[in-house]
Amino acid sequence: MLRNLTMTTIILILSLCLLAGTAAATGTYKIGIVTPTLSASEDEFRGAERTAAKHPGMIRHITLPNNFSEEQETAITQILGLGDDPEVKAIVICAGYSGILPAIQKIKEKRPEMVVITAPIWDDPDMMAKYVDLALDTDWVQRGISIPTKAQKMGAKTFIHYSFPTHMAKEVIAKRHDMMKATCAKLGMQFVEVTTPDPTTGAGPSPMLQFLQEDIPRQIARYGKDTAVFGTNCPMQDVIIAKALELKFIMPEQCCPTPTQGYPAAMELAIPKEDAGNFDKINATIKEKAAAAGMTGRLSTWPVPVGYFFPEFSTELAIEKIEGKVKNYDMAEMKKTAKKVAGVEVAFNKMKPEIDNYYLIIMDSIIY
Amino acid sequence: MLELRGISKTFGPHSALSEVSLSIAAGEIHGLIGLNGSGKSTLLHILFGSSFIHETGGYNGSCFLDGKPFRFTSPAQAIAAGIGMVHQEFALIPEMTVAENILLSREKGFALTDTLFPRDFSLLDPRKNDHEARRALEYLDLKIDPRQKTGNLALNIRQFIEIAREISRDNLRLLLLDEPTAVLNTADAGNFLATLRHLADKGVAILFTSHRLPEIRGLCDRLTILREGRTVGCCDVRTASLGAITHLMLRESVTKAGRFRSRPTDDPILTIRDFQVAMAGEELLGLDLDVQRGEILGLISLSGHGKLAFGAGVIGQLPFRGSLQLDGATNPPSSSAAMIARGVFFLSEDRNRLGLLPRHSIMDNIAFSALQHDNRFLHPSLPRCLRLPDRRAIRRHGERCIREFDIRCTGPAQPVGELSGGNQQKVRIAHALTLSPRLMVVNEPTRGVDIAAKERILDMFLAINDRAGTTIVIASSELEELRRVCDRIAVLYQGRLHAILEPTADDLLFSRAISGKPVLH
């Protein structure tokens, strides 16, 4: 009895392995996408969903635990589980956490042929470059040059930077601020720095938002309509865009560039359920509303949120590599693919000159 | 030993004391008398260094202890100098036990930890502390468990504990007593006064305020009389007559209230059987009593024998067991609201905690319950559902009460917290009467009230009983006042009815009944 059972099991397992082998050989394979949960980050989750819809049956989408820092072990086991599936030939991780690299190391030790693309994870760049096929991230600091440059193109003569002490203490934001200041000086724009009440102290963000509501009209009265306003904090964007519609100043980019931040609330975008997540439709609606408010050419952002763009883009890159279209990723190839996915030009910069598989991106903007 | 020269004190625009001088020798018991608001308490608080004296701008004049000048800004300094004070308002911590309260900040530690650590960190020895507290209580002839929490005890017991705390101090040289006997009944007071005499014989100087002239005369060596913040007399007790002292105090003579007796009927408004109320220190263990319609019934007992629990049980402040029949209805819902709706009102003895709304004006206090329950004083020209009161009617009513009951105040809009104890009591009674209750239960109506106010209050009871036929039950420790106003006096002993006596019965009979000895009718 027992022997029979063991035999059947062994046969079953053997046949399964055979099946998997033939499947791999005939070119049907799977790609694993790892994202945070919907409640932790909507963009990445929906991006993965969209990719799955684009390639039916090809995507295995798993989500990391909500409290990542406390359940890191669970997360690593989940990713290793993906690596154990012989059908999975590539893994795309869009998580924005640090501490995932050990999982990648283990997978690569076991299956060196596995394609691993991170977009992004935040571990040590040099180590990542060693194990990962391709690492992608947004070029936060470089935006210190791109945003004022864009603002000037849109007609700005003055550039106002709204922030507060605890934010300015963050390295990336402070660096970007310094670059903005330098760029403005180079371009001959006046750079104005305004400190708002701090939303991290006691009373929360409402004093900051009330201050913005009162201060923006004052600043516009002082510097005129050809002023670009940039705020470093997400809740600010609703007020800035609403005030832009009212006072006709320039809003070159939000802190997190996407049509879905600030615009929906300020413009009361009504997006029908069937169009939800359709960025062409959303951008068209914003354009329409901007024109109605006489704001054509004075509002801008990236056409697709990076979080939404990365899963699909990375998956396309992974497919190219698995199907042998590319051996090593180079900038020109990636640019083409990125344009296909995002619909606009995407600029790539090397993270460090000596590393050739870690790139930072800046998307071309859409100006409504 | 103690000498005060030219003490003056003002509270804002009001002058509380002006140019008061006083001297006390060691071992002397010095009486300080005067009406409510004459500045007695203020003087004691100045001596004790109470913080509010300092906060309200200090005082003028100088004090000397053994010839050395002093000016205390906190009670701690006074205590260190050997001065103790028993407060009119209790300064006991309700969540602590009797022993802890008595020995507060003087606790005894284990000898070992005492030597190892600084005193503040020593481990306390509960047995030593209990023993110490028990000794202090025995000194006062008080038999209670020192491990009980003070918050649950009856008022007079709490007063004793307060006293025990002061007299148990080793370095005590001057004891300040602010109306210590006000909440004690005659027997307790006598006991207490003997203790004081004993203390004085040991060389402790005592400054003593009281409303009870006979008590002062019996106890004190010398007297200082205050009127409106000034010394109006200082005399040796043996040479001064009672009349002369009263005259100095009042500058007007007092007409005593007296009862023109009504005939007892047999129509009980309230009948209680096997009535039990678990009031800590004042338990009723099964009272059977009929209260006749239209009478004034006195309740008397030694403290701890349950007279105060009667009102609390009837009104539903405390739950009761047994049966209660009010106007024919048996065991009606026992809540204050239901009882007030049935025309019963209760004035608690705890004037500080359950007395009044101190920050509200006199007129608002008087109209409060009538407005809440009877919809009286609602604005006549507005819809009644808005429930907006008619301020003018309330003021008119307040003014009438002030006139009628002789409430001493600056006007109907004065907050009652600023009034003296006696006048607050008048406001409380005016408040109760505004409801026109059919049965009123009053606990200790004249406690801590000066002679003049006391007579007005007794007069008020007589008048309302006479005019409106209100039945009144007065629970009091003052036999003399009960005899003057009551139709019958019920004597309670150990939580049960012991006897019902005519107010005309002689003193001997009363003292027998009160101490639980059989009484022949």
Binding site: E42, D43, P165, V194, T195, T196, P197, A203, G204, P205, S206, P207, Q210, F211, E214, P217, R218, D238, A242, P264, A265, M267, E268, L269, A270, K273, D275, A276, G277, I282 | F11, T42, S50, F52, E55, T56, G57, Q88, E89, I315, A337, M339, F346, R353, L354, G355, L356, L357, P358, R359, H360, D364, F368, L371, Q372, N375, R387, L388, G417, G421
Partner: protein, 347 residues
């Protein structure tokens, strides 16, 4: 001396405000703007501060559970927007719906608070905090249908901020504006706030209002006088909740957005600061204190921001303002403690 000490915090802040106003004049910050902003802020925050009054007066203390009231108001607002009701009809509807929801929530909240005698403030704080995740779940899953309120990518669940411009944003702010030279006084908004104040003031003249005051002052005595203390406390909580719900409606229309999710979490604290700065103590708060406190507290914000930015000391200003407000609150509480410690009969 005591009488004078009572208004020290208010005086300190008033002097500070005057100094700042002087500074603003020197730096040529247009004063009409400042005055205008101060008036708008007074009215938009005032109703929320006013909502603390009933619970303070019944002796429960500061309503740190204000998020409960705010959520009631937000629900009313969201329903109105969901049904696409605009203009004054929309705003009236939002007020009516909020009131109904607030009565229901307030009843439950009141019953909860009645169970935790003596620890109401800390319980209320945690009720407020724990209510937020619960409502977050609701916002993320509630079956609202107006696409202008839903997530733009997924199409399910509410957005964190919902614009009100085409519904009833600024409906009170722009109602009957009175222009005096460069100054625009938002009469409609002030009138609405005044009306709320008047209603609350009048309520404390009615018999239930007086009963609430009596409970706040001496609960044992009020009980002895036959007041149904539990019922009255519940009434006070419901009132606080209703006024708070109306308050967030006023706030939202002036701000121009409905803020969902974690936004109500911290809203109780500025309101508490304002009423304490106004000089109220536990057990007694008046409408005048609400107005004075809100005005002082928020004008400080209005003035300090631009002034500090023009003086190029933004960080200092932030620290200084925090010191002022928290210091004043501490002073108010200490002062209250001092008055409590004094014996009641001194004369």
């Amino acid at each position: 001396m005591i009488v004078r000490a009572r208004h020290v915090p208010q005086m300190v802040i008033a002097i500070f405000l005057c100094a700042m106003a002087g500074g603003a004049l020197l730096l040529e910050i247009p004063l009409p703007w400042v005055i205008n902003d101060a008036l708008v802020r007074l009215a938009m925050n005032g109703v929320l501060v006013l909502s603390l009054v009933p619970m303070l007066n019944v002796g429960i203390g500061i309503n740190f559970g204000l998020p409960v009231a705010i959520v009631a108001g937000l629900l009313g607002l969201c329903l109105t927007v969901n049904w696409r009701l605009t203009g004054s009809l929309g705003f009236t509807m939002a007020l009516a719906l909020s009131t109904v929801i607030a009565v229901c929530l307030g009843e439950v909240y009141g019953r909860l608070l009645n169970r935790v005698r003596g620890r109401e403030e800390i319980t209320a704080t945690f009720i407020g905090f724990s209510f937020i995740p619960l409502t977050n779940f609701f916002w993320a899953t509630a079956p609202f249908t107006n696409p202008a309120m839903l997530w733009p990518i997924g199409g399910i669940g509410m957005r964190p901020t919902i614009g009100l411009k085409s519904y009833f944003a600024k409906i009170l702010n722009t109602w009957m504006p009175l222009e005096i030279g460069p100054l625009t006084i938002p009469c409609g908004l002030l009138l609405f706030f005044g009306l709320c104040c008047l209603l609350v003031h009048l309520f404390f003249k009615t018999t239930p209002g007086l009963a609430i005051l009596a409970i706040g002052e001496n609960e044992g005595y009020a009980r002895l006088c036959g007041i149904d203390v539990d019922r009255m406390r519940r009434l006070a909580v419901i009132l606080s909740t209703v006024i708070g719900a109306v308050g967030i409606c006023v706030y939202a229309q002036s701000y121009g957005f409905i803020e969902l999710y974690d936004a109500p979490m911290m809203m109780a604290f500025p309101a508490a600061s304002a009423i304490l700065i106004g000089g109220s103590t536990t057990g007694r708060a008046t409408v005048a204190q609400v107005v004075a406190g809100t005005f002082l507290f928020h004008t400080m914000y209005v003035l300090s921001g631009p002034l500090a930015n023009d003086l190029l000391v933004p960080e200092m200003a932030e620290i200084f303002r925090l010191m002022m407000t928290t210091g004043v609150i501490l002073f108010a509480m200490l002062h209250h403690g001092g008055r409590h410690a004094r014996p009641s009969e001194t004369l």
